[in-house]
């Protein structure tokens, strides 16, 4: 995603035309990547409008990028409207939906929301400095709080999961850009497991990103921190996505 808004309106339209006409998957992905790069600034701008709500900016940018990808797929070239005008409500809608569906499911005091946000940052930063996942004591020291508070803050991440038991799983959420880069990895093991565990229909309902995280955690053996680094999201977001996915699969299995 190195290419940022450098094209004129007409050039963007040309890029869209090429993208629509591309028949080769690889070519399509490359063109889509360029379209994303051209508009990532817009996503960042819109994501920043939501940054005071207790979610790390990088996670919001990821959510916004999903909205951007949807807009790219749906944009109708025959219309006279500029793409950025068209995409804005889709991106904002995706961000709002993120807060509505995956936001604080139970009422969480502002103090804890802020703590959660701070922890998200500190866990990532300490992980980089130490070259390994930090301990609770190390986080407490870095944030100037005590271990109990840190534990409480970590558990708060689970508050997101309470909604997932009732919420339908999104089928079209996958495919952020950093994620799209990694597609094509061998998911054979996962398919094998689906078959054995008769999970196939449930796995198929998972967004691509969630499937991929499952694969990285349980077949590649990557830790949550390693997955976080690879997908450029926070470790706590990985934790949340994994726990949500597992609990929905668990429920689906129970109902079988």
């Amino acid at each position: 995603m190195n290419e940022r808004a450098t094209l004129s309106k007409d050039e963007v339209r040309t890029l869209f035309t090429e993208y629509r006409q591309a028949s080769d998957t690889e070519e399509q992905l490359a063109l889509r990547e360029r379209l994303v790069g051209q508009h990532i600034g817009l996503v960042e701008f819109l994501a920043r409008r939501f940054r005071n709500r207790g979610e790390p900016l990088e996670d919001l940018i990821q959510v916004g990028t999903i909205g951007l990808l949807k807009a790219i797929e749906r944009f109708d070239l025959d219309r006279e409207v500029e793409f950025s005008t068209y995409a804005t409500p889709t991106i904002v809608g995706e961000l709002k939906r993120h807060f509505r569906d995956k936001g604080w499911a139970v009422r969480v005091p502002r103090r804890l929301q802020e703590l959660h946000l701070e922890l998200t940052k500190v866990v990532g930063q300490l992980g980089q400095d130490l070259g390994r996942s930090p301990t609770v004591a190390e986080i407490a020291e870095a944030t100037g709080s005590n271990e109990e508070t840190v534990l409480e803050g970590l558990e708060i991440a689970q508050a997101y999961n309470f909604t997932s038991l009732d919420a339908p799983i999104d089928t079209d959420e996958g495919g952020s850009t950093s994620f799209a880069d990694q597609l094509g990895e061998d998911d054979e093991h996962l398919e094998n497991l689906e078959y054995r565990a008769s999970l196939a229909p449930e796995m198929a309902k998972l967004p691509e990103r969630e499937r991929h995280i499952l694969y990285l955690r349980f077949f590649k053996g990557l830790t949550q921190s390693e997955i976080a680094e690879r997908l450029e999201i926070s470790q706590m977001h990985v934790s949340r996505l994994l726990n949500r996915t597992l609990s929905s699969l668990r429920q689906a299995l129970e109902e079988q």
């Binding site: 558990e155 565990a197 955690r217 349980f218 949550q224 470790q235 597992l246 299995l253 129970e254």
Partner: protein
């Protein structure tokens, strides 16, 4: 020296799993587990306890024992249920895959007619 033990009894409902997760995390933190290891432990507890609570809870209780050893935590959960509550005690392939990844050992079985799970998680270093 005998390992120190913490024991808690909760209703067999998913609502109370948070308590178990918090205790597990608190004890793991005393052993200086990393965040990744603590997350793994919580995931394992959730996975196992789900067999006893189901999605909607069951009529019964779960007694969870935490044994704090030098560099590992051993967690045993024993379920006690009202007659008629069906609790499966064989791990699915999916559970086994999860537990193999996030714990050192994990088992689920009937012990003298009591559904019981056992988890061991040690520190990496």
């Amino acid at each position: 020296m005998h390992p120190e033990v913490v024991a808690i009894k909760i209703p067999a409902s998913p609502i109370y799993l948070q308590v178990i997760r918090l205790v597990a995390a608190g004890l793991a933190s005393r052993l200086e587990f990393t965040i990744d290891e603590i997350e793994d432990l919580k995931m394992a507890v959730d996975e196992m306890a789900a067999y006893f609570t189901g999605t909607n809870g069951r009529d019964g209780t779960i007694e969870v024992r935490f044994e704090i050893k030098d560099d590992c935590l051993e967690i045993t959960g024993a379920g006690s249920f009202a007659p008629g509550e069906k609790v499966r005690t064989d791990l699915t392939d999916f559970s086994r895959m999860i537990l193999e990844t996030v714990t050192d050992s994990a088992s689920l079985q009937q012990v003298n007619g009591t559904p019981t799970f056992n988890l061991v998680k040690s520190k990496s270093s």
